[in-house]
Amino acid sequence: MEEKKSVAEHVRFNLLSALVIDDMGAMRHALKTQLQIFGMNDIHVAGSAEEALGRLDCRSYDLILCDYNLKRPSSGQHFLEFLRHEGRLKPSSVFVMVTAESEYDFVANAAEYVPDDYILKPCPEKRLKSRIERLFDKRNFLMPILLALEGGQYGAAIASCDNLLENEPGHRWIMDVLRRKIEAQAALKDYLGALETCNIAKAIRDDVPWVSLELARANLSLGNIDVAHDIAGKLVAMNSNYVAAYELLSRIGEARQDSTSALEMLMMSSRILPSARRFRVVSESAYLLGKHDEARKASESAIKLSKGSIVERSDDYLSLAQTMVDMGDCSKAISILEVDAKKFGEKGMFGVMQNAILAQAYLGSGDTGKAKKLIERANNLLADRTDGMTMTALGKAMLKSGDLISGLKMFTRAVQVSGDASARIANHVTKAMGDVGHEGKVADVIDGGRRRILDLVNEANKLMRAAHFADAHQKLHDAFEIHAENIEALLAATQLHLLWLKRDGLDDVLIERTRGYLGTLDRLVPQNEKVMNFYKFFQTILGG
């Protein structure tokens, strides 16, 4: 009881702001009144996800109370998914889903986008107040960490975690501190550190599933694939609905180059907890494996689940249309793009890719003249812009139209500009070239030094994760010999040098190299989020 009193005393309702989202006006009013009784004054309301987004465009809120069952098209879960995926929800904001008992098992099991808490409606005042107090008690304790994470200052976040671990080892929220530390370490790719922190968490409580999951993740990142598989396998054996574990098993399958098993795990996760995001991932994996029917079904499900909502994506229509072209149903592909996807117009990369896939479809249906016009239009729309997926679709259209030279150039360029997504784009290019009967040229296209660089960067990453920094540097040096401005190599080199500086202290040579890599990256990929985070970490190391 004493602890509960102190929790209540620490939460100053009059200093907190809230956004209440419910499609029923009477419910909005009732919840707002309840919060006012607690002492809150700064409360806004919204009747839909769209209206709430408008509010969030202007300011942030400490507390968001959102009804799960908002009017279509966007539910509370769509809203939360959008906020988290777009990074619009600050770590220091508390998101509570208000749900009926008929929905709460779905809400609570939504592993990927989990609210901070959920409450059943109607919630008596005393209980609601107690729940909010508890949530803010936790938030207040974690605040230094949350603020650092908000700013992308992962080094500072880790330092805050360490401070709490040292000064408050027995605190009720200490496991949450450890979880945040693991999150920050993973963001910095300090997987050895993350593993160590997982073991500390496990020593405190060995019966918490997320600890085992993070242990498996850290081992996977360190290349200990069998260990990761063993841990993840045990998790699903204990809980057959543990979606995050299935998704990890899928990544393990990819690491073992067992794409079939990886797809099976993804499909399992989408069966347990269907969501547009999951279906998108299933669709792409199935497509790359040539399982077009599964890809089609998954794309259709993604569209169905997100149609009209704030998480709707024009890409889903492109994926579905491309799959239909590959299945030989060109008229269906044309209908999808010219009718169903008409609402998206011809904007940006969507417009380019739409024209490229339509060109493929018209070629398939025998209208070569129209196809060539569409290819020309796509090329004009593309202009000087770059996007690996779009260029792959356009390259495929070019090859199908008989323009071998332009097609191969387009594929090569797609691989070169793909940066972080190079492995993914390489897979798409490989499939696309195979589909048009040019599998013999895949190595030339991707290899233009590219695959060798990819291999060298992968080897460097493995050495980096095992803290063999000098060896990792040699690998990257070899990569730069092939292509001095390869983005992936530059990112890996920057990461390596930051970890090196962190471990061994300030060194003029390392500092100079790091500055050089960051400067080149700034020029090649300006305003890149990862590069900006690297800069912040670099400043932290330098003591700035």
């Binding site: 029923m24 009477a26 419910m27 009732a30 009144t33 309840q34 009784i37 069952n69 009926a100 008992e101 008929s102 709460y104 098992d105 609570a108 099991n109 059943l120 409606k121 109607p122 008596p124 005042e125 005393k126 209980r127 107690s130 409580r205 019966d207 918490v208 599933p209 998790l235 204990m238 809980n239 609905n241 543990y242």
Partner: protein, 209 residues
């Protein structure tokens, strides 16, 4: 859709009555109206939950729960505990710390379902208890048991009104059985007379992961 509207209407009525009861000097009937509304809501939700468990593929949601905190919350927020004339207490003397972690147990179960079951059991105990109701838990291996002990007359008493003790739970007991079953094999519900003590309700669950 109809049920959704009904629940929303009851929710709004409850919130209105709750707000009204903040005003000083209200007649006792106002508080009674609020309690009756809470009771109605609880029964509706229990019925709907029971229906879902029995008719659809309801998946219980396991989460790590500090069991002592959970029980304290159940007792603190239980409408029956709040309004009944007999105190409902967490029997600390019957609860042991985990010998390995030296702290209170963390167990994995569906908080919402178990809370409903416990409220139902407490609601029933409040009707028959004389002076006290004790609530506690025990863990054993991969299972956890929750107990509600009231010092009312035995369930096999000749008193006709008391004979309703076991069957008067009706919806509540059915919900408790369903909650136990939803948690998988090994779950059970029992009501037994303890000589010189009273009536003991036990909800045993295998813990989820």
């Amino acid at each position: 859709m109809i049920m959704h509207d009904m629940k929303n209407s009851i929710a709004l009525l409850e919130m209105d009555l709750e707000r009204l009861n903040h005003h000083p000097g209200l007649p006792a009937d106002a508080a009674l109206a609020y309690r009756r509304c809470q009771d109605l809501k609880a029964r509706l939700i229990a019925f709907l939950t029971l229906y879902r468990i029995e008719q659809t593929g309801f998946q219980p949601v396991g989460s790590p729960v500090n069991v002592l905190e959970f029980l304290e919350g159940v007792v603190e927020f239980s409408p029956s505990a709040e309004t009944g004339s007999v105190p409902v207490c967490v029997a600390m003397e019957r609860i042991q710390r985990n010998p390995l972690t030296k702290s209170w147990d963390i167990a994995y179960f569906d908080k919402l379902l178990v809370e409903m079951a416990m409220e139902s059991a407490i609601n029933n105990a409040v009707r028959y208890a004389k002076q006290r109701i004790d609530v506690w838990y025990e863990t054993e291996g991969d299972s956890i048991s929750f107990f509600v002990l009231d010092d009312g007359p035995a369930i096999d008493s000749a008193d006709a009104s008391v004979q309703q003790h076991a069957s008067s739970t009706g919806l509540g007991l059915a919900l408790c059985h369903a909650v136990a079953a939803a948690h998988g094999g090994g779950g059970s519900v029992s009501i037994a007379t303890l000589p010189d003590e009273g009536t003991l309700f036990t909800l045993k669950l295998p813990t989820l992961r």
